[in-house]
Assembly symmetry: C2
Homo-oligomer: 340 residues x 2
């Protein structure tokens, strides 16, 4: 057993973990956005052929898992375990989505940071020798998320400009010991950070402090500067969260303006598509990563990126009880695979 | 990197992972049960000094984490990461319970199997060299769980005899490379198993097939017999689930009647305490493990046990939409530490 810890909260893998494939499936609105051409599959039916939003999300997650397996040239029997989760209460999108795959599962809850958490744990598992091929998977669905956290869609209630639009999408990656064109070389585990904000319609602001904390800790642990990354990619901070992140980092003497990209700001054309502050949801970071970020690293256009999905930790109950909305951010370092 | 996989779904650690401490905190009813003398702390106030069931559960989780740290002689700064989760939507008991600890966190959702999942991932992380000390933690609370899944307590609705009683309790273990009197030597990752049952008031029946699947897979992967264990300990199958588990295993030619113990059947005196089929909830398996199972392994009264918390994967929404209740079971092998 080699100690692979780095600094206070990070891990640097002695042997990088290969990303064998990335797959993404989205809904119609995401397909009409700026990244529309990049997704593997766009489903025009928001119900994905099922009878409820929840079943729709489960179906999307199952199909995306199978896409990722197919792109990696693997059968489900070859996948040792899955790390997966979603936004719904008791993670039901994952539970019902994964049952037919008959693959061992560890269920996660990290709100919209789930893809960062799933990639982190899957990479730790591969590097630890616990499985040759491991799947990281997550999803969100606009309909199921609005029902879970906000108002019935039929109300047509108005949304403040600080609100984000939950992405209907699922992203999956198969990790393995070798064979991909990109790899995970390290990670930084996030702390739960609570600045006392309570506005669930401004989740970017709630999550920005967590993104700031994880980014600073990551740079310290690895003794790196923002310039050491081609992109520093948050999950779904949106317009307002991004501005707050820049301000918070600036107070600490750190400027990532040149490198920063936010998946929530990439996936929709906010003005044209009326999505206000940007996209959000577990599926936002996951689909943008699989469809847009990963190929750019694989081709070497970006040599090294820091991918940091951010999550807002709240529930209907905690919101109704007047609780704050803490955030969490889980970071992974993704680099082009170097040939041995 | 050594391959530590065993069979199809299991891991055998090349270097066993030490359990440095176990801590448990419960409510009054659990304190009055057969294991009352064994828990570290019994809180007479069901609100744990707070204003809501959810905050009560968060407080209990935080206190239990600190108890486990104290018993291991560690400060929170020495804990590299926490694996934690609970039953509530979006795992809010954990999110709000852990924020003050300022320790990096990976959030889990495994329903009542969470302690098995947390111990598994914490052991994998320690054995992988990702941290010297790692905390596995979970909780449940009768009040918050009834509110989350069933009816407001004030209704006083009647419960069928197949129903279980959610344990108010939190259990935590600190894992590390060495120094404890017990250790985790292996694990088996569970699949989601769905036999099509839909009765959320009979969760033992819903979870028994998953327990059966994980136990059989474990014995096959490790080439062991039930007799190789002093106890095979499920989480919260209760009376009915236990009977179904025995029947299902018998069909496969496996008899664990001599070794089987169910935490849900141990924690309450069902007749005296009117808890029907037994105790349940993440806190059931976790508190019984920390207070009762672990000390027996530490003293060598039991040399080797298989601990398999079981989870019923449902939500209010999935239940109301007429979905089935799949189950999952995560197994860890706990043995007395052998002196090198």
């Amino acid at each position: 057993m080699t100690t692979q810890t780095k600094g206070r909260q990070s891990i640097a893998f002695a042997q990088p973990v290969s990303i064998l494939s990335g797959a993404s499936m989205v809904g119609q609105k995401e397909g009409e956005g700026p990244l529309g051409d990049l997704f593997d599959c766009i489903c025009q039916d928001p119900m994905f052929g099922t009878e409820s939003w929840e079943q729709a999300e489960s179906t999307m997650q199952k199909e995306t898992a199978q896409l990722a397996l197919g792109k990696a040239g693997l059968t489900k029997e070859q996948i040792r375990m899955i790390f997966a989760g979603d936004l719904l209460a008791q993670s039901i999108a994952s539970s019902y989505g994964l049952v037919d795959l008959e693959i061992p599962v560890y269920g996660l809850y990290g709100a919209c940071s789930t893809m960062g958490e799933a990639l982190s744990l899957a990479a730790m598992a591969v590097a630890g020798g616990y499985g040759e091929y491991i799947l990281a998977l997550t999803s969100s669905h606009f309909g199921s998320a609005e029902k879970e956290f906000r108002f019935p869609l039929g109300y047509g209630n108005q949304r403040p400009l600080s609100a984000t639009w939950t992405v209907t999408g699922s992203g999956a990656c198969v990790l393995g010991r070798k064979g991909g064109k990109a790899c995970i070389t390290g990670l930084t585990t996030g702390k739960i950070i609570d600045y006392g904000l309570k506005d669930s319609m401004n989740m970017g602001a709630c999550m920005a402090p967590a993104a700031c904390d994880t980014i600073l800790r990551h740079l310290q642990d690895f003794c790196r500067q923002p310039e050491d990354y081609d992109r520093i990619i948050t999950g779904d901070l949106g317009k307002i969260g991004q501005r707050i992140l820049f301000d918070l980092l600036e107070e600490k003497g750190c400027d990532i303006r040149q490198q920063h990209m936010d998946c929530g700001l990439e996936i929709f054309d906010a003005e044209e598509q009326d999505t206000h502050a940007g996209g959000s949801g577990c599926g936002c970071a996951a689909t943008v990563f699989a469809s847009y970020v990963l190929p750019k690293v694989e081709t070497g256009e970006w040599k090294r990126v820091l991918f940091i999905p951010t999550g807002a930790l709240l529930s209907k109950v905690s919101f109704n009880e007047g609780q704050t909305v803490p955030g969490i951010a889980q970071a992974v370092v993704v680099e082009q695979e170097r040939k041995a």
